[in-house]
Amino acid sequence: MKYLMKKTITLILTLLTVTFLTFIAFEVIPGDSATLSLGTDATPEQIEALREQLGYNKPVLVRYKDWLCDAVKGDFGTSMNYNLPVGQLIKERLPVTITLAVLSILLTVVCAVPLGIVTTRKEHSRAEGIHQFFIHLGMAIPPFFLGILITFIFGLTLRWFVPGTELSFSENPSQFIYYMIYPAIAVAVPKVAMMTKFLRSSIKRQLGLDYVRTAYSKGGTNRHVMYRHVLKNALIPVITFFAMIVAEVFAGSIVVEQVFNLPGLGRLLVTAIGNRDYPIVQAIVLYIAALVILMNFIVDVLYQYIDPRVKAE
């Protein structure tokens, strides 16, 4: 419990630091939104008036406090470009990104864990070379190409889905999720390959350890040794890696969103950067940072349950 308390306090502090740094970073970048939205023709008086109106003339710390309080309430300001609240813009895109993320994470776990186990089993056989080939192919293939390939095979040739359809979660959830499976595959394939490779080497390392020999000396079957003894130990390092994948996927996949014409967070971010739409960029950076920190927090807590040695330290 004490461990959890400590971790929570660390989490909050890290989040505060990150939000502050994010805020400062956009303070430092020259050219604020006031100048931008009025254009180059504006008189200094006009700019000054707008700055006053937007509250840019207050001290940095006061503005940080205001911004943070608003952000906690979900108010990230107004987008210059869309002239809409940033919160609303993000909210509209979240279902796409979250569905895509959850599907690709599920696919990754469902495929990578059994593949990791099976491919270690087949070590020292001819199949090993074939496994290696597919793992490396999966890691090397660029997601956009995979996206195009999937569109071509499943969309254009087999006609299992119609590429470029615009669907929304609220109107037709099942249709929406079905359509999302294809981009999810494009996102998941490289992750599956990486995680399989990682888990495989982790399992291999464990198989060489003394406790595995002990387990066999007790009369354990291969199954028993793998599932009761090896897997739990082998997953410990994989969890950190997995958390990185999760954070990455939740941040949105720009390329895949583009290929499948999905209105997700990744595309919003790219457009916003192009337009110098700082409130959006700020909000998304904050979202990604918070996500990474949160994932790390979850990993730390998970470790405690999986590896009893962590508690002892």
Partner: protein, 523 residues
Amino acid sequence: MGNTILEVNDLHVGFVENKQYAPIVSGITFSISKGEILGIVGESGSGKSITSLTIMDLLKHNGKVKQGQLLFEGSDLLTMTKEEKRRKKANEIAMIFQEPMTSLNPVIKVGPQVEEVLALHKEPNPGEYKKRVISMFEDVGLKDPEAIYGKYPHQLSGGMRQRVMIAMAMILRPKLLIADEPTTALDVTVQKQILELLLQMNKKYGTSIIFISHDLGVVRKLCDRVIVMYDGAIVEQGTINEIFECPKEEYTKKLLAAVPSMRKHEEQEEAATVEQEEETPAILTVKDVTVGYTVKGRGIFGKKTTKTIVKGVSFDIKEGEIFGIVGESGSGKSTLSKAIVGLTPHASGEITMQEAHPQMVFQDPYSSLNPAKTIGSILSEPLIIEGKLKKEERRRKVEQMLEEVGLKGDYYGRNIAKLSGGQRQRVAIALALMTNKKFIVLDEPVSALDVTIQDQILKLLKRLQQQHRLSYLFISHDLNVVYELCDRIAVMKDGVIVEQGTRDEIYYHPKEAYTRQLIEAIV
């Protein structure tokens, strides 16, 4: 032969690498009777461990039994199906291993780890399993067995873990127990207890034991009969008395002669040590030294706490003297040595030396030298740092030093990775001597080596010490080795020096109870 439990006939085992068969065990034949304790001794590479792993069917994937028979109660283990062999494991033949630290699964509680043996062999009454485990824990002398049941391996000491391993091996009352170096990783006092426990199991349940060890002293104490193995073959076998009192083969004689032992010297005159003149200046003075680690708590607010390892230790080492520090693991002897060399800062007290930066030789020659470098480049390094010699001079000096530590020939350009443990330790010693230092700290320099190699290294150290009038601080847990080499000795326990004196004072007239306990545990 109704009394024989296991009969090994002409067993050939090897490894297949690149489709080439490399023999490890070539044609050994022996047997063990019911209730007997059979010792197998040999140095690393002799094939003793491979023999035991073959019996347990635990060979790695590239291990191959080429020919032979393993008759367990008359039926051949080698021709059985995998399932038949699996049912024999733990049930009829069980095994305990060298490393109690790593032999248990770190993420599962020890109780359930023992309990699963019962489930794997489909023992009746699953409801009774836990009770059986707890009573077995009691049987192997674990105090508070119910609490131990719920502990993770890292919460137990090495001795306790080995007891858990024995409980795991004995819970189904196997007919044969294979113990592969079960006490090598343990402290002397704990080693004694574990040996007694094995003997007790043997008496109580009539279990035959194959006891594999490189430690002849231990084998002599425990076993009824002994097999001496060398290079995959049996050199000699016989009863303890036959082997230890009148060995027939050259190799056995050599092996016995190499064992450092205070008992061997007992009849010799006691005043063999060189008397130190009072005037000899001290090369190192340690005065009231305390060493501790700062342990930082986890997280941003983790409190810093200091853990004291060495508590107010004082001693001095005179020129040309070999000073030994003995103690069990956790006594602080290694931490103290690191503080002296300057690898760890000391919290308080004074360390004064005649010359700065004493050199150190570490325990594990396999991990303490960079395997990617050549011997020449490793040994040249201190000379380059010193910056006094030119390239050719450096090379000449390195070659000269290599010859001095007994590595004649073209070692200069060779890679560390290709050397044996003994050769590596010679390189480490050469490295320590490179800059003409008079004082060297040796931290368990021979504990990782085989007896005959150990003997050679000890002789080398002694020769170098006499030739160059060196002083050593020699740290070891092995009281026999310390006896062989040291002039004066300090006994450490829990960070303090319990007793210090000349070798003979410590070994023959110990004043403190702890010292006596250590001396008595020597086998």
